[in-house]
C-alpha cells in the first residue's frame, strides 16, 4: 500500500483541538446562544399545504397584538429604501428566475410549494408573543394537486413552475414540465457491449427522503443599521456564501452585508443554504431592532433541505471472468420545490469506483411539492451506491466470485476514464478494496445463524474551491492564524497543524481564529470535503510566506544574501557560515516590520486531488421473526491521502458510517398523501442511538493526492456512501432476501422473509 514516506513532526499527531475546552465547558457560543441588546424575537408563518396559489395574506389582526414590532412578507423584498439596490429587474431572465426561487424559498410570493414554506414573519418582544401573532395572520389560498414523487412529477398534469423548461447542459428544451434537468454521460457503446455480456443483472431500487439530522436547529440574528449595513450572526457552513446569498436575496451589494459565523452545531451539507438570515434582516429593517430567529425541530425537519427520495434502475453486464463490460443507470431524484437535486453528483459517482469501458448514465432532476433538497454528505452518491453496490453483490453471487475480488478485478485506478470523460489522477480505490479483502474482519469466520456479512465501496469526488488564510507572527514566536472556514469538527486544528509543520511549531503555538466576512479573504463553504484540503493548503502557503519573510529579515541582520539562509528544525542558519544561527523564537522577538503571511488558493471545482474512496464491511444479525437488524460489527476503510489529524479523520469515518447505518435501517420521512411529514420529531425520525451500534472500527489508507503539499484527501463525505449498500448485502446474506428499498426496516425485512418462505414452499409444491 502506498503511504507518505516523509516523517512529520506535527502532521499525523493527536493534539487536543484548539476550541476543545470552550466546547466542553459550555463557553462556546452557538447561533442560538447569541444575544445583543435591544433584541427582538421572530417567528415564521409557514404553508399548511403542499401546493396552492396564494390569494391573500392578512396581517392586520397580528399587527394589533401588544408586543408585535414588525411583520414582513415577500412584498418587503421589493422597493427597498436603499438607493444602490440592484433589483431583480436589472438581471437577465435566468438570473431573475434564480433569484425568484431563492426568495420564494425564504418567503413565498405567489404560490405555496410545500408544507412548511415560509409565508410571513413576525418580530415581537418575546418569542411567545411572536408565535401568538403568527397564529393571528390570515392566509387565504386556492389549493392545487400536489406532486409528491418523481413518477408523479414526470407524469402529472400538475405543473409546479409554469415558466420551467428542462435544461440539458444549460440548453432549454421547450415545453411545460416538472423535469428541471436531464443529465447524460455516455462512454463507449453500452448497447453493443451488453450483447457480449455473460451475465446481466438489472434492478430497480428506491430510497426515501432522509434528513442530515444535525442537533443544532438553524438560528440567525440580523441587525440592519441606519447606514444600510447589515450584520448577520448565524450558524452556517460558509460565512461568505451565506453573505453572498443573503445580499442577493435582499438585493443589496455584498459589501453591505457582514456575516459573523458563530459555532455551528452540525451541518452535513444542510447548513449551506440560507433560510432565516434574509428574513431576520427584513424584520430588522422593518422594526429598527436586531431580530433573532430560531427554528424548532419540527421546522428543521419540514422546512430545511433533506436529501431526496429517489427511483433508480441500474444494469451491469459482465463476462465469465467477472470483468464489467457495460453498465447503465437511470436516476430519478426529487429536487424539492425548486431545481437542484443532487442527481448530477449521483451521476458522477454511480460507477466511479470501477473501470467500465461502456457506460450510459441518465439523471433526472424532478420538481416536487416538498422542501427544497440540500446537500447531505456526499450528496447523491449514497443512493447511487445503494443501487450499484447491491447489483454488484448479485453479480458476484451469480459468477461465484468473492465480492471483494470482483471489485478488485474491476477497480478504477490512475488513468481510468470515468463515465463523464476525464481520467483519474492518483487515486486509492484499489488500495481500499485490497485493505478490505486482507482485513481481519473480512477474513473472520461467521459462526452464528441469521448472521450475514456485506461489503460495499463508495466514492466522493471532493472539491477544492477558494480559501484564504493570513498568519501574523507574534514577538514570542507563536502565530495567529486567521481563516474563513467555519469549524464543524476540528478543522481549526487540522489547518493549524499544516502551518505548524512548515514553521517547526507545536500545534498549541498556533492560535487559529475563524473570523467574519470583513476580516479575511473569500473562503468557500465547509463542505465538499474541502476544508482540511484547500484551507489547509492556504495555511501552508501563508506559513511559507512567513518563513520567507523571516529569511529575508535574518539575512538582513546578518547582511548576507537571503538565498544563503536555510530553515530547519526551528533554526535559521547560513549555508556558508556555520556561526550564523538564530532560532525561530529569537528571530521573532527582534523588532522590525511586523511579519504577516498570506495564503490564497483556488483549486479544482470537482475531483480535487482525485477524490476519496471508502468502503465498509458490516456484519448484521437478523431476528427472523421480527425483522430487526442488529449491527454486530462494522469496519470503515477510507483513503485519507495523508491523515493530518488522525483522531478527527477517524471521527469523520465513524460519523459518516453511522449516518449511513441510520439511513440503511430506520431513517425516513413518513409523508401523507397531501404531502405532510408525520414523523417530524427526534422520537419518530429514528436516528441511531448509542445503544443501536457497536464500536465503529476504522482503517485509514494513505494514498497521497497529486498536488497537495501533504497529499491530503478530504475525508468528510466518502464514508457515508457505502454503508447502506453494505448493510443491504449483509441482510441478504443473513436472510436470502434482496432489499430494494431504503430504509430496510423490520416490517419490510419481515415481509421479505415471509414472501421468500412462501415462494420456497410454492416451488416445492409444484
Amino acid at each position: 500500500m502506498a503511504t507518505v514516506k516523509k516523517d512529520y513532526k506535527v502532521i499525523g499527531s493527536r493534539p487536543v483541538r484548539h476550541d476543545g475546552v470552550d466546547k466542553v465547558t459550555g463557553k462556546a457560543i452557538y447561533s442560538a446562544d447569541f444575544s445583543i441588546s435591544d433584541l427582538l424575537h421572530g417567528k415564521v408563518l409557514r404553508s399548511p399545504v403542499a401546493h396552492a396559489v396564494i390569494k391573500k395574506i392578512d396581517t392586520s389582526k397580528a399587527e394589533k397584538l401588544a408586543g408585535v414590532r414588525a411583520i414582513v412578507t415577500a412584498k418587503d423584498f421589493i422597493g427597498s429604501s436603499d438607493k444602490n439596490i440592484e433589483t431583480a429587474e436589472d438581471r437577465n431572465e435566468g438570473e431573475t428566475t434564480r433569484l425568484k426561487y431563492l426568495r420564494d424559498n425564504v418567503l413565498a410570493s405567489d404560490k405555496l410549494l410545500y408544507i412548511g414554506q415560509p409565508v410571513a414573519a413576525v418580530a415581537a418582544t418575546s418569542s411567545h408573543i411572536a408565535e401568538e401573532a403568527v397564529s393571528l395572520i390570515e392566509l387565504e389560498f386556492e389549493t392545487l394537486e400536489p406532486v409528491l414523487n418523481t413518477t408523479q412529477g414526470l407524469n402529472s398534469k400538475s405543473i409546479i413552475h409554469q415558466e420551467l423548461e428542462t435544461k440539458e447542459l444549460g440548453t432549454k428544451v421547450p415545453g411545460k414540465t416538472n423535469l428541471a434537468e436531464h443529465i447524460q454521460h455516455k462512454l463507449g457503446d453500452p448497447e453493443e457491449a451488453f450483447k457480449h455480456a455473460e451475465i446481466i443483472v438489472e434492478r430497480e431500487l428506491t430510497t426515501e427522503t432522509v434528513h442530515q439530522g444535525y442537533i443544532e436547529p438553524h438560528a440567525a440574528t440580523a441587525s440592519w443599521s441606519n447606514d444600510g449595513r447589515i450584520t448577520v450572526w448565524c450558524s452556517t457552513q460558509g460565512a461568505f456564501p451565506a453573505r453572498d446569498t443573503t445580499a442577493d436575496i435582499l438585493g443589496v451589494p455584498i459589501s453591505q452585508v457582514k456575516v459573523v459565523p458563530l459555532e455551528i452545531g452540525g451541518g452535513f451539507g444542510g447548513k449551506i443554504p440560507v433560510y432565516l438570515e434574509p428574513v431576520a434582516a427584513l424584520l430588522s429593517r422593518a422594526s429598527g431592532h436586531p431580530v433573532k430567529l430560531v427554528m424548532s425541530r419540527k421546522e428543521v425537519f419540514e422546512c430545511t433541505g433533506p436529501t431526496p427520495g429517489t427511483l433508480m434502475r441500474v444494469k451491469i453486464g459482465a463476462d465469465k471472468s467477472g470483468k464489467f463490460l457495460a453498465a447503465q443507470a437511470h436516476l430519478e431524484f426529487e429536487a424539492g420545490a425548486f431545481p437542484g437535486s443532487p442527481v448530477a453528483a449521483g451521476s458522477y459517482c454511480v460507477f466511479a469506483p470501477y473501470e467500465i469501458p461502456n457506460i450510459l448514465i441518465d439523471g433526472y432532476d424532478v420538481i416536487v411539492n416538498k422542501a427544497k433538497t440540500a446537500a447531505y454528505r456526499a450528496p447523491g452518491a449514497t443512493m447511487a451506491a445503494f443501487a450499484t453496490e447491491t447489483v454488484i453483490d448479485e453479480v458476484a453471487e451469480k459468477l461465484q466470485i468473492d465480492p471483494a475480488e470482483l471489485r478488485l478485478i474491476n477497480t478504477a485506478k490512475k488513468g481510468t476514464r470515468r463515465a463523464d470523460g476525464p481520467v483519474y489522477p492518483t487515486i486509492g480505490c484499489e488500495e481500499v478494496i485490497k485493505t478490505i479483502k486482507d482485513s481481519e474482519h473480512y477474513n473472520s469466520p461467521i459462526t452464528e445463524p441469521h448472521v450475514g456479512r456485506g461489503i460495499a465501496i463508495g466514492y466522493w469526488f471532493n472539491v477544492g474551491l477558494e480559501s484564504a488564510c493570513t498568519i501574523s507572527l507574534s514577538k514570542n514566536g507563536t502565530i495567529n492564524l486567521i481563516e474563513g472556514s467555519t469549524d464543524i469538527g476540528g478543522t481549526r486544528t487540522s489547518i493549524a497543524m499544516q502551518a505548524a509543520e512548515v514553521l517547526g511549531l507545536l500545534p498549541e503555538e498556533v492560535i487559529p481564529s475563524v473570523v467574519d466576512t470583513d476580516s479575511i479573504g473569500f473562503t468557500s463553504v465547509t463542505g465538499g470535503s474541502r476544508t482540511t484540503y484547500a484551507t489547509g493548503w492556504a495555511a501552508y502557503e501563508a506559513a511559507i510566506d512567513v518563513k520567507n519573510q523571516m529569511i529575508t529579515k535574518v539575512a538582513g541582520i546578518w547582511s548576507i544574501d537571503a538565498d544563503n539562509v536555510e530553515f530547519e528544525d526551528g533554526v535559521f542558519f547560513s549555508k556558508q557560515d556555520t556561526e550564523l544561527k538564530m532560532s525561530f523564537k529569537e528571530l521573532a522577538s527582534k523588532s522590525g516590520a511586523p511579519i504577516v503571511g498570506r495564503g490564497s488558493v483556488s483549486k479544482g471545482g470537482m475531483g480535487a486531488g482525485g477524490g476519496s474512496f471508502a468502503g465498509a464491511i458490516v456484519d448484521v444479525k437478523i431476528d427472523p421473526e421480527t425483522g430487526k437488524t442488529t449491527v454486530l460489527r462494522f469496519t470503515c476503510v477510507q483513503d485519507a491521502g495523508k491523515a493530518i489529524y488522525p483522531s478527527f479523520v477517524e471521527g469523520q469515518m465513524q460519523g459518516g458510517s453511522v449516518q449511513g447505518i441510520g439511513w440503511a435501517l430506520n431513517e425516513e420521512y413518513f409523508m401523507t398523501d397531501d404531502g405532510r411529514m408525520t414523523n417530524s420529531s427526534l422520537l419518530d425520525y429514528r436516528m441511531p442511538t448509542s445503544l443501536d451500534l457497536p464500536m465503529i472500527e476504522t482503517i485509514i489508507v494513505e494514498v497521497p493526492s497529486d498536488g497537495h503539499p501533504y497529499g491530503v484527501r478530504g475525508v468528510g463525505e466518502a464514508n457515508i456512501v457505502s454503508p447502506p449498500a453494505a448493510v443491504a448485502n449483509a441482510i441478504y446474506h443473513a436472510t436470502g432476501v434482496r432489499q430494494s428499498r431504503l430504509p430496510m426496516n423490520p416490517a419490510s425485512i419481515t415481509k421479505g422473509i415471509q414472501d421468500h418462505r412462501s415462494d420456497i414452499l410454492n416451488s416445492m409444491n409444484c
Partner: protein, 89 residues
C-alpha cells in the same frame, strides 16, 4: 492539439463524434474554432461570451473555476460536463 470530448447530448452537432482535435490556447479560441467546424456549438456552450449556466469545463481531471482564464497546452483534455446542482458544496 487539444483533445475535446463532446458530451453525448451535443453529439448530434458533431455527427456522433465523441472526441475532436482542436488547436487552441484558450477556451474562447477553442469554442470559436469548434463552432466553425461544427456550427451551433458556440450557442450550445456559451451565453453572452460566457460559459452557460449549468455547464462546467473540465481541463484534464479537474473542473476549472474560471476556464476562460486558463492557458491551454498541447495534449490537454477538455470536457464539458453538467454543473453540480443543489448547492452540493
Amino acid at each position: 492539439m487539444l483533445q475535446v470530448f463532446i458530451p453525448s447530448l451535443m453529439r448530434k452537432l458533431t455527427n456522433d463524434k465523441h472526441v475532436v482535435e482542436i488547436n487552441a490556447t484558450s477556451i474562447t479560441e477553442l469554442i470559436n474554432k469548434l463552432d466553425i467546424e461544427y456550427p451551433g456549438m458556440k450557442e450550445q456552450l456559451t451565453e453572452g461570451n460566457l460559459i452557460k449556466d449549468g455547464l462546467s469545463v473540465v481541463i484534464n481531471d479537474e473542473i476549472s473555476n474560471n476556464p476562460l482564464l486558463e492557458q491551454l497546452k498541447d495534449g490537454f483534455e477538455i470536457h464539458f460536463v453538467p454543473t453540480i446542482g443543489g448547492g452540493n458544496y
